[in-house]
């Protein structure tokens, strides 16, 4: 990490006046309270995300401006203006009102990046419901777990996804009352127990008064994975929008005339915070591609849509690199002026690849589901340290800490010393709880007055104040930028009659960071075979979906366990990687 590798910025690198040019002054002058005054309050003084992000613009000079531009392979671009988005989200809010959905009740969306997803998210917020967008590549089991944990009352999905992932499991979701279907298959009858969303929308009024929510009312529910137990439902409030707004200004350098493309799916927190809310708050035009990754298609979008600010992920960047240098030579990106990446540390080669191929270096940043928005970033006006996550944004105080056995915290001030990354509690998009799990929430905070949020990420800070990710403090797997809880995968494998025990690890992969690898031992009467491993793979994929299921399964005679009976995932991982096995004093004999 010598200074030679730093990417120095000069005035020539800036294609717009940066929103943040003086690091120290901006940080010292900043206050969340002042920032919150830049967003539109409700007429009575409350705050509602949908009002600030959509209705306030629709009522003003941005009414005709394109808010969302949807791209698809087999159709022309579909533009939705701020005015239209206000009307559509009002219709959806009125549909919820008609179904008797009360303030604070949960609406889930399970869909690809179709317009209805965005309308449902914003309409739910406008109605005062709490909304959660689930990744459409989840299998039936992760869907049911989350629906039940969140006490979902209304689910918005497509006929295809309903048939494949919900219909047969519906009796396992007792709180789910209404399923609103988007019809993708023409000519088929609407399944029993569902409602046709388009028909309900047509019949609803396109005006509505936003619910009288306050900044502290629950708005969004994002699920994230831990090492043990079921997924955690991180609760975010309407006031989080202030952080979405401010962080997009500083870390993404959004300007009013930008064409912004966030490639993340709204099934993950990035796709909601920066794929829906932040660009709307700024009144910019967002590009949304409904298709899966395709190198040539992506270069084409950057060029043809005139994307100016691009927020993407390391996996996508590495897939573009893998596709070779020939394809991008056919395209030009004169409008592109800022690129950022999030999900996992971006390797220095990838940062520099951006400069060579796209003409701009890539700015890595760091945050997580619990933080709700970007906390630490390499930004437009300042030098990039490739491989680092950058420096804390205005309004954010970070530290490297040691969490002591007695519960106290020691702040580590010595540069380049590894510890846990902690953030001073109190920014607006900080999560306000894990649903139904106050104890787990409490454990995330420590220090005097529980003033520090412990991120679970190990990191270092260098002498210049840049932070460097080291690893997770737990066994959570990070694949393609998404957290996958080993317990959820192990549980699904254990449901197969042949499996006696299962241990799941993240196996390093050059493209997606880590892939999910499972080790299982078999019950007596079953023997290892190619056929059985395939059956297990199919079983896991059917239950968990492609995004969560293991990519590799190995059968072992027994799995290493601690004396207290816990499967030692770390040892499985060390053996997989051929690493020293470390302290085995707790290992049960024979493991």
């Amino acid at each position: 990490m010598g200074s030679s590798s730093v990417i120095r910025k000069t005035a020539d690198d800036l294609r717009a006046v940066p929103n943040w040019a003086d690091y120290a002054a901006e940080r010292s002058d900043f206050s969340w309270q002042a920032a919150s005054r830049e967003l539109a309050n409700l007429p009575d003084g409350g705050f509602n995300i949908a009002h600030a992000a959509v209705d306030a613009h629709a009522a003003g000079r941005l009414s005709e401006k394109v808010a969302l531009r949807f791209l698809a392979l087999d159709a022309a671009a579909h533009d939705v203006s701020y005015g239209e988005l206000a009307r559509l989200s009002s219709r959806f809010a009125n549909v919820l009102a008609q179904l008797g959905v009360a303030k604070g009740e949960r609406v889930f969306v399970l869909a690809g990046r179709i317009p209805e997803l965005y309308v449902a998210v914003l309409g739910s917020l406008k109605h005062g419901a709490v909304v959660s967008s689930l990744f459409s590549a989840f299998g039936p089991e992760p869907i049911a777990t989350r629906v039940n944990l969140g006490a979902c009352r209304v689910l918005v999905t497509t006929d295809r996804l309903y048939e494949r992932k919900v219909a047969q499991w519906r009796d396992k979701m007792p709180t789910l009352e209404h399923v609103l279907l988007v019809r993708e298959e023409s000519g088929t009858a609407i399944p029993a127990g569902t409602l046709d969303l388009a028909a309900l929308m047509d019949a609803a009024s396109d005006t509505c008064t936003p619910a009288a929510t306050t900044a502290e009312d629950m708005a969004l529910l994002h699920f994230t994975s831990g090492t043990t137990g079921t997924p955690k439902g991180a609760v975010h409030v309407h006031g989080a929008a202030v952080a979405h707004y401010v962080t997009a200004r500083y870390a993404l350098d959004l300007h009013p005339d930008d064409i912004f493309w966030c490639t993340a799916d709204p099934g993950w927190v990035t796709g909601t915070s920066y794929g829906i809310i932040a660009p709307l708050l700024h009144g910019v035009t967002s590009i949304i591609d409904r298709e899966e990754f395709d190198a040539e298609r992506w270069y084409g979008i950057l060029q043809d849509e005139g994307v100016t600010v691009w927020y993407t992920a390391p996996t996508a960047i590495r897939m573009l690199m893998k596709a070779g240098a020939e394809i991008p030579r056919k395209y030009q990106f004169p409008n592109l002026r800022f690129i950022a990446s999030v999900g996992e540390p971006l390797n220095p080669e990838a940062v520099r690849w951006g400069k060579e191929v796209l003409g701009l270096p890539i700015h890595d940043n760091w945050w997580q589901t619990e933080t709700g928005g970007i906390m630490i970033a390499n930004t437009a006006a300042f030098d990039i340290k490739p491989g680092s996550m950058g420096r804390p944004l205005p309004g954010i105080d970070a530290a490297i800490v040691k969490h002591n056995e007695d519960g106290t915290l020691t702040l580590i001030d010595t540069p380049d010393t590894e510890g846990e990354l902690a953030l001073k509690a109190g920014w607006p998009s900080m999560f306000r709880g894990y649903l139904n799990n106050a104890e787990r929430y409490r454990k995330c905070f420590a220090g005097p007055g529980n003033a520090w949020y412990l991120t679970g990420d190990l990191a270092k800070r260098d002498a210049d104040g840049y932070y460097w990710f080291v690893g997770r403090a737990d066994d959570v797997i990070k694949s393609a930028g998404h957290l996958i809880g080993p317990f959820e995968v192990e549980s699904a494998l254990m449901e197969h009659p042949a499996v006696a025990e299962a241990g799941v690890i993240g196996k390093p992969d050059p493209v997606v960071g880590e892939i999910v690898k499972a080790f299982v031992s078999l019950k007596s009467g079953f023997t290892d075979s190619e056929e059985l491993r395939r059956e297990l793979l199919g079983h896991a994929r059917k239950k968990l979906g492609a995004a969560v299921a293991p990519k590799e399964i190995a059968v072992l005679p027994t799995l290493p366990r601690t004396r207290s009976g816990k499967i030692m995932r770390r040892l499985l991982k060390a053996r997989e990687l051929g690493l020293p096995e470390g302290d085995l004093s707790t290992l049960e004999a024979g493991g």
Binding site: L73, A137, G139, R160, R164, E292, F293, D294, A295, E296, R297, T315, M319, K322, A323, G324, E326, I327, A480, V511, V512, I515, R534, E535, L537, G538, H539, R541, K542, G545, A546, A547, K551
Partner: protein, 81 residues
Amino acid sequence: MTQTDIRAVVLATLKSIAPEVEVDALSGDRPLRNQVDLDSMDWLNFLLGLNKRLKVEIPEADYRKLVTLDDVVAYLQAKVD
């Protein structure tokens, strides 16, 4: 190789990555990824598997032509011949 042979190799490759897929239920003329749950990595492994089994080069620039099962079979047929 006949078209039937190639189709069989394509389906076997698909099954090796996603054993849960019921191949008889697939429509050849609808986008494959609308019918089966494959993430980006599965899709790359699928194309890589075809490359290995059929010894056919599939340049990245051609990936976008491979949308339906019929597309994939026709593409490979032209390359194998």
